[in-house]
């Protein structure tokens, strides 16, 4: 199985390549990708250099153009696709049918991957994208168990890539407007979720309160570590009880399921985290590379130290485990 690694900067890109990535994914510095954060991503020149560098090392580069084109401004996405193709991207990761159709028609030789944001969660959906746009690989939404994935793999005509480590969307990706409901900015339209521009922390007595837009997302009593107010990882009141209504502040880690994923028919394992620094990328990629290459009985020790890097130091198997539902 390939190891697909994130890069938000040219420096992180080099670290990922050096640490053992089989492919690195990244995006341009604008709203054409779903990690449109200040200070992140690549200029055209940087992407060209990164692709050339990766190619010399025998590593592939995937370019994420995985937001939905803003009506009337499609040229921004079309130009990004043109530039990524001409710079030599090994694959484009796309979510929008309109952009898929454009790429399939204009660059029929270009390898096209279906982004997790397209939310193709079943065989009919995946085969539609294969037939309509020639998709070669689908990144599965984090809504499936490993046995769901195995069943799917037997019925589809393209490769499967799954997320194994890093941030975890609780909602079906690409189908969530919670962020824009609170802030006006969404993953689909703006490439951001719970954007920092709308985050505020305030002290209220002994509590630190985190807010997103006009809404309180969490309260941290003195002594409790305060996390970032990602909307679906907040604490809310339902009826008379307070708690993490959707998901705790945990991150995904299913590296202990590598063999089951391989048997299920998965071709590529994906690490989330284009917003992470180069040190994080280097450490995670190198640990996961070693784990992937190691014998099963050696893996546990190799993976243990990774837990420390995870958000809140707590991890979950997410939807891969049936009881998570």
């Amino acid at each position: 199985m390939e190891l697909i690694c994130p890069a938000g900067t040219p420096a992180a890109f080099r670290e990922a390549v050096e640490a053992g990535a089989d492919a690195v994914y990244c995006g341009f510095r604008d709203e054409t990708n779903a990690r449109n954060f200040p200070g992140l991503n690549f200029s055209r020149e940087e992407l060209g250099e990164a692709i050339a560098y990766a190619r010399r090392k025998g590593i592939k580069t995937f370019v994420a153009l995985n937001t939905f084109m803003r009506a009337g401004h499609e040229d921004l996405w079309y130009q990004a696709a043109a530039d990524a193709v001409h710079l030599g991207a090994d694959a484009l990761i796309l979510a929008d049918f309109g952009l898929m159709a454009h790429v399939a028609e204009t660059y029929p030789e270009q390898r096209l991957h279906v982004s997790v944001q397209a939310s193709a969660s079943n065989p009919d959906a995946v085969n539609f994208l294969v037939e309509a746009f020639g998709a070669k690989r689908v990144v599965l939404p984090r809504t499936l168990t490993i046995s769901d994935i195995a069943r799917l793999a037997r019925q589809i005509r393209c490769e499967i890539e799954v997320f194994v480590f890093g941030g975890l969307c609780v909602m079906a990706e690409g189908r969530c407007s919670l962020s824009s409901y609170a802030t006006g900015k969404s993953p689909n339209m703006n490439g951001v979720c719970s954007p920092a521009s709308h985050v505020r922390y305030r002290q209220d007595g002994s509590d630190l309160v985190s807010e997103l837009g006009a809404y309180t997302i969490n309260r941290f009593p003195r002594g409790e570590a305060a996390g970032y107010p990602t909307l679906c990882k907040g604490r809310f009141d339902i009826a008379d009880a307070s708690g993490y209504a959707f998901e705790d502040p945990v991150s995904l880690d299913v590296m202990d399921q590598i063999d089951a994923l391989r048997e299920a028919g998965v071709s590529a394992l994906k690490i989330e985290g284009r917003q992470r620094g180069k040190a994080y990328v280097a450490e995670v990629v190198s640990a996961l590379r070693k784990a992937l290459d190691a014998r099963p009985e050696e893996r546990r020790a190799l993976l243990a130290r990774l837990r420390l890097l995870s958000e809140g130091q707590r991890t979950t198997s997410g939807a891969y485990e049936k009881r998570w539902r």
């Binding site: 929008d96 309109g98 397209a118 009919d124 809504t143 407007s177 409901y181 309180t216 604490r235």
Partner: protein, 311 residues
């Protein structure tokens, strides 16, 4: 291009209502509500299908007898084999047009005239044209779209009728996980259908007791109710010919009559808003997405005019 005679569509009941409540709702809508089309069928959770099933034939019969045009809804999230099978057989057997709410239905409906629901991501005319070429005739656009995107998509996609969600809590997210069941101490696989206890959704408040969201099984909806009334004439002028009313647990006949009167120009939009607040009093109204703001926001008409005058 402006539409001559805009019409109202009743969207599917998104919540789990007891079978008899569900039946009586549709009987009354059939007899009294000025809606031309009714999109009907479970959309949120495949576990709920058996609640409405016994009443389905009677309800369809009553709606057809009343002259309503039927459209069958499909599931928003299809992951299990039995869910795939359900969508396949629904599409294969349906004597009525079907509305696609995920990519599997979209795939299966190719070549047949069909509807696209608001949960399919149509953010631009290029995407709308792909769907139109595959047989989509009516597209209900996602609630997140601002008016500028709606105008652009409608004007650049000939051969398709467009619909916009004009009333109802907005569908914001769907998950494999059931937050509703979990809030009541269960998990999805052993949920005991607790969502049945909240026919208008289970409110989610912030820790500072601000009303924020509502849970509907695996779906999360807005706490606010989308209310496009003052915006209707502009939408009609830009070519939107259909307006969707998404059922809430309130007097939906009154809602439909009100929207009909506003569309026909018999009631002023401002008066319509005031009346809507009386019909559905516990829920604040919003139209923020339409105005390019946060979805929960309410943009009053007067402010729009002031902005226009200053521009």
């Amino acid at each position: 291009m402006a539409v001559d005679k805009p019409t109202l569509t009743l969207g599917p009941v998104l919540y789990l209502w007891e079978g008899e409540k569900w039946r009586d709702f549709y009987f009354r809508m059939a007899d009294e509500a000025p809606v031309s089309h009714v999109v009907i069928g479970e959309t949120v959770c495949s576990k709920r299908l058996h609640f409405a099933d016994p009443y389905f034939p009677l309800v369809i019969e009553r709606l057809v007898a009343a002259g309503k045009r039927i459209v069958l809804s499909t599931l928003a999230l299809v992951t299990l084999e039995r869910e795939s099978q359900y969508v396949r057989s629904l599409i294969a057997d349906s004597p009525y047009p079907v509305e696609a709410n995920d990519l599997s239905a979209l795939a299966l409906l190719e070549g047949e005239p069909h509807w696209i629901g608001p949960l399919v991501n149509v953010y631009n005319a290029a995407a709308a044209r792909v769907l139109a070429m595959r047989g989509a005739r009516i597209i209900c656009l996602p609630p997140e779209l601002p008016a500028s995107s709606i105008d652009e998509i409608v004007s650049q996609t000939p051969g398709v009728d467009f619909e916009v969600l004009a009333f109802g809590r907005m569908p914001l997210a769907i998950s494999a996980r059931c937050a509703h069941a979990r809030a009541k101490g269960h998990i999805k696989d052993n949920c005991r259908f607790v969502c049945k206890d909240d026919p208008d959704g289970l409110p989610v408040k912030t820790l500072d007791r601000q009303s924020f969201l509502a849970l509907n099984g695996v779906q999360t909806v807005s706490f606010t109710c989308q209310a496009l009334l003052a915006e209707l004439q502009d939408l009609v002028a830009s070519g939107v010919g259909r307006f969707r009313l998404s059922p809430q647990d309130c007097d939906m006949v009154a809602v439909a009559r009100l929207y009909d009167e506003v569309l026909q120009g018999r009631v002023e939009a401002e008066d319509g808003v005031a009346r809507l607040r009386q019909i559905y009093p516990a829920t604040p109204l919003s139209n923020g997405f339409h105005h390019g703001k946060e979805g929960a926001a309410w943009v009053a008409r007067a402010r729009n005019i002031a902005h226009g005058a200053n521009a």
